[in-house]
Symmetry: C2
Subunit: 231 residues, 2 copies
DNA sequence: CGCGGCTTTGATGTTCATCAAGTAAAGTGG
DNA sequence: CCACTTTACTTGATGAACATCAAAGCCGCG
């Protein structure tokens, strides 16, 4: 069960500048009404596919995944999200039910802002509305882009792509802790768990990467980028 | 070369009610500034990937496709769009360049509305802004949904899926004219042209569909839906 | 300590892209 | 309008890429 945290006021939140910069203190006070902050531990479910959307969700700390289930078959990860990534904007303005489940990959803190209140703020503040539009547009574009990058490549290229992505865009380091299990990687890039492992091992044998459990170090980034292009 | 059409005023446009219902006549007059309407014939290119985004595009008549190119390899169709489908909202608020090309599949009429003017209208009219948010959210969701439906299925399931989609969601008829060439179908659902043809022929042999060139008639929709679920 | 979940490797068969080759249809230029 | 070229469509054969099955080691947890 997620813990409910002491809710700090939005106008003092460290994330205010990311989205709520152009809101007045009064508008922020409105957003605070019904606002809740909850802590989720690894593997806990935040929302379940099919539940009604009542809040705009914002990830303050941690790492979450969006998962789509599909008639008894495997789960597919649509996207993963870190703080600063406005994944919560997906669907909220066009659907009344969640089209996917959200769960925590690492311990996470999520902020729940009442959706009706948010919509009112948008109606009353066009400049803020435009910012929300930009965020929504970006997050959707990124997901569509990512899915095309993945699905048009073959397996080696897919693995290479996410390794480069984690190193360059998430951790800014050639050495990092891979936050996903092998099974989750498979669900993210549409392949079997066995082949994820097989190809990682192959990259290790070829001395492209070093692996120690979930610790990854990229030894030959050039080779990985070549695999991205031609795999 | 696309013809430039006599531009009719937005406040008299038949499509006004779809998006611009809540705008005043004055706001509509603003949107008319720099507005252009152009006619494109089948296979003409509307915008090219990489070009700067200066306008919001709206399809008034016809059928277009969004195409992503990718280093000398094949083209991939991200999505196709008919009028009423606000495909033009993809990317416009988060990118300054088109991330894809747009071209006409059938003869089409497109309306070009100055993007800066549109943004101003959004800033000044929060209710309108919320409507735009809903459209953007819907179109992005639909594309993400579609791509997941396609990419998780195997070939028979993919073909079955788009046949059912055209019959039930586009033409509302079990008999319809397939607007895409076999090659375009292949580019849309990520498979080889040969296999598109092979599987269509197979469905014909199994008396699931009747084919006459681009005329398709679905004879056994139940079987197609079963293939959607288990293919 | 034993059970279930995650990881790893090998072997096997299926699905699919690709190559090749031929026919039909649709533009193109004289 | 006809010969010519190109583009779309079609079928079969082949091999590569990949999922699936099977079996075993590993680790955390009750």
């Amino acid at each position: 069960m997620p813990e409910i945290l002491n809710t700090s006021a939005c106008n003092k939140c460290a994330f205010r500048s990311l989205l709520f910069e152009n809101l007045t203190d009064d508008e922020l006070i409105d957003l605070n009404v019904n606002k809740v902050e909850k802590k989720y531990y690894k593997k806990e479910i935040v929302v379940e596919q099919g539940e009604p959307i009542k809040e705009f969700l914002y990830l303050k700390e941690g790492l979450i995944k969006l998962v789509k289930k599909d008639g008894m078959k495997k789960e597919h990860i649509i996207s993963i999200a870190r703080p600063l990534n406005f994944i919560g904007f997906l669907s909220v303005f066009s659907n009344d039910k969640y089209q996917y489940s959200i769960s925590a990959i690492e311990d996470s803190v999520m902020c729940f802002i009442d959706l009706e209140v948010l919509k009112n703020t948008i109606r009353n503040n066009g400049v803020f509305a435009l910012e929300v539009l930009e965020k929504i547009s970006k997050i959707s574009d990124d997901i569509i882009q990512f899915r095309m990058m993945i699905d048009r490549r073959q397996l080696r290229g897919r693995i290479a792509y996410i390794l480069v992505m984690f190193a360059k865009q998430v951790y800014f380091n050639s050495k990092f802790h891979l936050p996903l299990s092998r099974k989750e990687i498979a669900e993210l890039i549409d392949m079997s768990t066995e082949n994820v492992i097989r190809i990682l091992s192959e990259f290790r044998r070829d001395e492209i990467i070093r692996i120690d459990g979930s610790q990854i170090e990229i030894l030959n980034i050039g080779q990985l980028e070549r695999l991205c292009r031609f795999g």
